[in-house]
Point group: C2
Chain length 236, copies 2
Amino acid sequence: MEPNRRDRRAATLAEIKATARRLLVSGGVAAVGLRAVARELGLTPPALYRYFPSHEALLQALIADLYDELTAALMALQDNDADPDLGARLYLLANGLRDWALAHPAEFGLLFGTAIPDPDAEGHEDTPGHQAAMRFAAVFKALVAQVWHQKPFPHPSEQDLGPVLVAQLTRKSEYFDGMPPGAIYLALNYWTRLYGLICMEVFGQLHWALEDAGAYFEAQLFEIGEALGLDCPQPE
Amino acid sequence: MEPNRRDRRAATLAEIKATARRLLVSGGVAAVGLRAVARELGLTPPALYRYFPSHEALLQALIADLYDELTAALMALQDNDADPDLGARLYLLANGLRDWALAHPAEFGLLFGTAIPDPDAEGHEDTPGHQAAMRFAAVFKALVAQVWHQKPFPHPSEQDLGPVLVAQLTRKSEYFDGMPPGAIYLALNYWTRLYGLICMEVFGQLHWALEDAGAYFEAQLFEIGEALGLDCPQPE
DNA sequence: TGCTTCAGTGAACAGCGTTAACTGTTAACG
DNA sequence: CGTTAACAGTTAACGCTGTTCACTGAAGCA
């Protein structure tokens, strides 16, 4: 019945991350301090260094966990939806992302708000947070590719896009399961508009115009769906 | 020839803000510390309190200055453009904003990146930074309203938007110089897409798909212009 | 049993924003 | 002109932060 030493370690590690998240929710990212976490757990600050090599590493682990939680939530949403129309799942996913963001604004802010304009990166692409972000992005990518392969939607021609853009998009054709550049362009369009919209709503940058952006989001989502040749989202 | 005391004060104040900006550019917002600024100026940290009541106030002043600089740059861009077609100025403005953002990523990050999801705000709407942001937003608002009044563009009907959204948009009709809700919807659409696009590009969130987002931005800008019933941007 | 591993502590360091008390210069006023 | 008050700036200190080092005590293993 007495816990193993490795189990104890895992339990403490989970407690640390849980505490960090609680502090994140209650006071924003600035409240997630090494000392604050230690204080909350009844430990001394250096004790945390047995679990994380630095404060930044703790935040990275928290970010990775949150990405994975969001990814799992969206995948569960897909699995529980029996609708054979994959286009409907795109609405499901988009609304799911927005709902999660609005329900967890602090977490969302940590994941997507903390923008790092680091032009000379060269090496921070293998952090836990970044890898988890890639897994998250793959969810949307996979669904869009499935939608495409189930019923290819009309897309702009290569002449419309121009050679420079086509060259870049074609380079991503393999990642997008063989979609043509015009279709990838629409997929990118879908993502950028959805992402931008949710960020602006959660970060309160729409407040000056709309006190409740829900209806606006719905209308925009319908427009974006139209661009992918999808039908009306829901009867509602 | 010896400078007045009030002039000396103004000069020091300008030096402080210039130093703060230099630190911002070279090391991000985290590098703009009270002590760092003082060190750079050969002063002791408490001396800065003769000019700013707190570190936050210094940042606010810097934000306000940057907003004003950006606003002035965009207005100068408009004034130097003799094109009577106001629609063309929308492209000019959009490209001007993007150019400024790409040329000054650190400053842009301070202005637009640091998102503050503060739901229980109630009182931070009168900071210098927020007021300057309103002046900045007014530039776009004014031009869109001018475009509308010069040549009203086709816009979605109230039935298309739904009563909830129409009610919110109508409440902004006065601010938008009497534009109808459908037109305000398109104006908002213009702003959200432009804003989201530039943020994603500057903050490197498009790098996984596009190494150079210029062509993509151009294509998107054309789409957004189409939605406002504008003609082709430029022969180029 | 003896040795090692490891969680955790206490003290300390450098850096941060901020405050209080103090010094010298500079402008203003009777 | 001389007094006085305002002002720019300093030094010292407080509490906070992330981080390191030397150390203790207990758990795990041979």
